[in-house]
């Protein structure tokens, strides 16, 4: 067993860097971050004030990396970290934080609080405190190839069904194609219409693509746990598959954290740049639209709005492509009052909705989204993340709201110009 309290503290020492040192130096305890956090505002409990969640890290920084802190330690004025501190922190870092990053947008000092949360998770995991659900998901992903634990056969069955429905051949393990497509477990199990949708879109656009038996899962519980090593195993799996198939562009599906893991964290956790590029599926569709390769006819005229997934939009930088696509296929798109990088988190990401015990809290949090949606008097919410979709649907049902939730790729596919087969 390589996890222990010492390893946890050691990880904090290892990961504190110049940005983090500047963040703790600049924090004035103003509390504004609490106004940005959906958990703090909806529960009205000040213990969820974002920067407060990082207190163990702050103490380590002060004691190890500042002259004054070291002096205080010498004369016995500082409190050393204990295992209890780390245990108490699990609720704050894993169970009541989706790493949505809204706190980082509001801090007047410019502190990137979610950056620190990610490292705090790394320390807690090294101390052996990662939530059981995430640990189990990590084991399933690596041993079985998917977060939900289904084998390739299950996916193959979906692929076969989509082929039959669309009449389009869908490649698996095909080398030298334009794109390698990854999917998240949730999409495979719950929203598998995406497979057929992609087939239709790509055929019309004239691009070639494939799935990979070795690496079809985009989801990364390693990142949720905050374990760079576990995350790296999953990323390396994808990298190897892409290299084997000689792929230059890898597509991350409609999933928030998958994009963050493969697009941004991936090269850093495996320690080298990729020999290929990574895109969110929506970025790809938007690029095709720009190139004139996406032909649609008709528009959805229902009043609808869009929910920006935190990891893809605010933290991942995919803010405009979805809007371009919506404007192409919908005529009544109404923005939420807070959108793009300022959007409010649905409350399910970051591994939070994998834990049953967080359900009561998630119900409470959903009140924010409910208000946002009801303000606009819409019938439909479109999004581009399967976890958000699940969380929204759950909340909508729980609250008896009459709202439909759709994936953006699905919407685009619905309005594809249907060409007569020759």
């Amino acid at each position: 067993m390589s996890t222990s309290f010492e390893q946890g503290v050691n990880t904090l020492k290892r990961l504190i860097d110049a940005p983090i040192a500047s963040y703790f130096s600049s924090c004035t305890n103003c509390g504004i971050c609490s106004q940005a956090c959906v958990f703090a505002t909806e529960t009205e409990d000040p213990k969820y004030t974002p920067i407060r969640r990082l207190d163990p890290m702050r103490r380590v920084w002060e004691q190890e990396y500042t002259v004054v802190g070291r002096l205080k330690k010498l004369i016995g004025l500082s409190r050393e970290l204990t295992m209890q501190d780390l245990e108490d922190n699990v609720h704050l870092t894993f169970e009541s934080c989706t790493t949505c990053g809204r706190c980082s947008m509001m801090c007047p000092s410019g502190n990137d609080i979610v950056y620190m949360i990610r490292k705090m998770r790394e320390a807690l995991t090294a101390a052996g405190l990662a939530p059981k659900e995430l640990q189990d998901a990590a084991v399933r992903t690596i041993e079985k190839g998917s977060v939900m634990g289904f084998p390739m056969n299950t996916l193959q069955a979906m692929i076969d069904a989509a082929e039959e429905e669309t009449g389009i051949k869908i490649n698996v393990d095909e080398p030298n194609v334009d794109y390698l497509v990854l999917l998240s477990s949730a999409e495979v199990m719950q929203f598998n219409e995406i497979i057929g949708a992609l087939a239709q879109i790509f055929q019309q656009a004239g691009v070639t693509w494939t799935f990979s038996t070795k690496a079809h899962e985009a989801g990364n519980p390693g990142m949720h746990m905050g374990s760079s090593e576990i995350e790296a195993i999953m990323i390396n799996n994808i990298v190897e598959a892409a290299e084997e198939l000689n792929i230059k562009k890898v597509i991350s599906p409609e999933c928030g954290h998958a994009y963050m893991a493969i697009r941004w964290e991936g090269p850093n956790v495996i320690g080298r740049p990729y020999p290929f590029e990574v895109y969110h599926i929506i970025e790809v569709l938007d690029e095709l639209r720009e190139q004139g390769k996406l032909k649609t006819a008709g528009m959805e005229d229902e009043r609808l709005t869009f929910h920006d997934p935190c990891q893809a939009a605010r933290r991942g930088g995919v803010n405009q492509p979805q809007r371009n696509l919506l404007n192409m296929v919908t005529s009544n798109f109404i923005e939420m009052k807070h959108n793009r990088a300022c959007n409010w988190c649905c409350g399910g990401g970051g591994g939070v909705n994998t834990m049953e015990k967080t359900e009561p809290m998630r119900q409470k949090i959903f009140h924010r989204k409910r208000t946002q949606i009801e303000e606009l008097d819409v019938t439909t919410v479109v999004t581009m993340c399967a976890t958000c979709r699940n969380t929204l649907e759950e909340g909508i049902e729980e609250n008896g709201m009459d709202i439909e939730v759709l994936g953006l790729t699905e919407v685009v596919a619905n309005y594809l110009l249907k060409e007569k087969e020759s």
Partner: protein, 368 residues
């Protein structure tokens, strides 16, 4: 003493004035001027005249130590000629280096005689500071300043320290103070001391205080031993250029547009706000002018340690040190400590990296 036995020291001032053809009216006017200069009520003028005219000539011994003779020069520049020199005639100046006719043994003898004859009743006036470092730095007739001061002060009624040197140490005390110059009040602690600071003090301030002492005794003194009547307000609060300070109109350098327009001199170093004296009201040279009116900022000459209070030409709100020099030194020192701390930080991180054991799937409960 009876009028029959009168010699110079027993003739009253009143008699003296009449003898010199000065009318009571003129004398009253003088007393009014002095009284109003000290902000005494109108009735004080007649009381002053009454008492002064009956007063007998007061024995005064004037000791000059480490001084420049500026205070003597100032007091003799009082331009109300007849009456003030009459005051001086009235006062029996039994010993004064510059003004006395005698010299050598004769002068010292006159001093000792006056001390004996008026034991307990003479006024001791001192100008100049006393070297405490080494008694040999300043001696008169082979007697050290300290010794002479102690001897003469012993039987004095009161002591008047004239000029900033006697009052607070003045110029000789300025850094590095090689003679160990100290004020009169640093040596004599058992007699009433009135400080009349200034470098030099205003003539009429000196005579006004003396007149008060002769008539009403020792005036009300502030915490620095200065008569409140003349030193109770700052130059700044009575300065005629104050409206320009309040409106933010300042001369930025000598002879610039602001200077020529008579604007406030704060920016060219005026210490008016922290200087207490009568220059702005009583002025100098029979009320002709004072430094600020002539275009030069107040140098704070009636305050203790004004020579060490920084440049006369840098504003009161600046430091008296050269901040840039200190700041550069501090930057270097801080950088050195910072680099050391930084090295320690990086070493700490490296050590942590070494001790790191990667988390494995086994830790998660998976197979090896």
């Amino acid at each position: 003493m009876t009028p029959e036995e009168s010699n110079e020291t027993t003739e009253t001032l009143g008699q003296n004035l009449i003898g010199n053809g000065v009318s009571r009216r003129t004398f009253l006017k003088f007393c009014s001027t002095v009284a109003s200069a000290m902000a005494l009520p109108p009735a004080a003028a007649s009381a002053m005249a009454e008492t002064l005219s009956k007063a007998t000539r007061q024995s005064v011994i004037w000791l000059s130590f480490q001084e420049c003779t500026g205070c003597t020069e100032s007091i003799t520049r009082s331009h109300k000629p007849t009456l003030e020199s009459l005051i001086f005639d009235f006062v029996s100046l039994d010993y004064h280096h510059t003004l006395q006719a005698a010299s050598g043994d004769a002068a010292e003898h006159a001093r000792e005689e006056a001390q004996k004859a008026h034991k307990g009743k003479y006024i001791l006036i001192v100008d100049g500071s006393i070297p405490a470092e080494n008694n040999g730095y300043s001696t008169i007739a082979g007697i050290s300043n300290r010794q002479m001061l102690e001897d003469v002060a012993r039987d004095a009624m009161a002591i008047v320290s004239v000029g900033t040197c006697a009052a607070y140490g003045g110029l000789p005390k300025a850094d590095p103070n090689p003679t160990g110059a100290v004020a009169v009040s640093d040596i004599i602690t058992d007699k009433p001391i009135i400080n009349i600071p200034g470098c030099p003090p205003i003539p009429v301030v000196m005579t006004g205080v003396l007149a008060h002492v002769l008539t009403f005794g020792i005036p009300e003194l502030d915490a620095h031993g200065r008569p409140v009547a003349f030193y109770g307000e700052s130059i700044h609060d009575r300065c005629y250029r104050r409206p320009f300070y309040d409106r933010g109109l300042f001369a930025k350098s000598f002879d610039d547009e602001g200077a020529r327009k008579g604007w406030c001199l704060f920016e060219v170093g005026c210490k008016g706000p922290t200087t207490f004296n009568s220059c702005a009201t009583t002025k100098w040279n029979n009320g002709a002018s004072f430094p600020i009116q002539s275009g030069h900022g107040c140098i704070g000459c009636s305050e203790p340690d004004f020579w060490d209070a920084g440049s006369f030409y840098k504003a009161l709100s600046t430091g008296s040190i050269n901040p840039t020099e200190w700041a550069t030194d501090a930057l270097v020192a801080g950088a050195a400590v910072g680099v050391a701390s930084g090295i320690l930080n990086r070493a700490g991180k490296a050590k942590a990296a070494d001790k790191h054991e990667p988390v494995t799937l086994e830790d998660m409960g998976g197979k090896k």
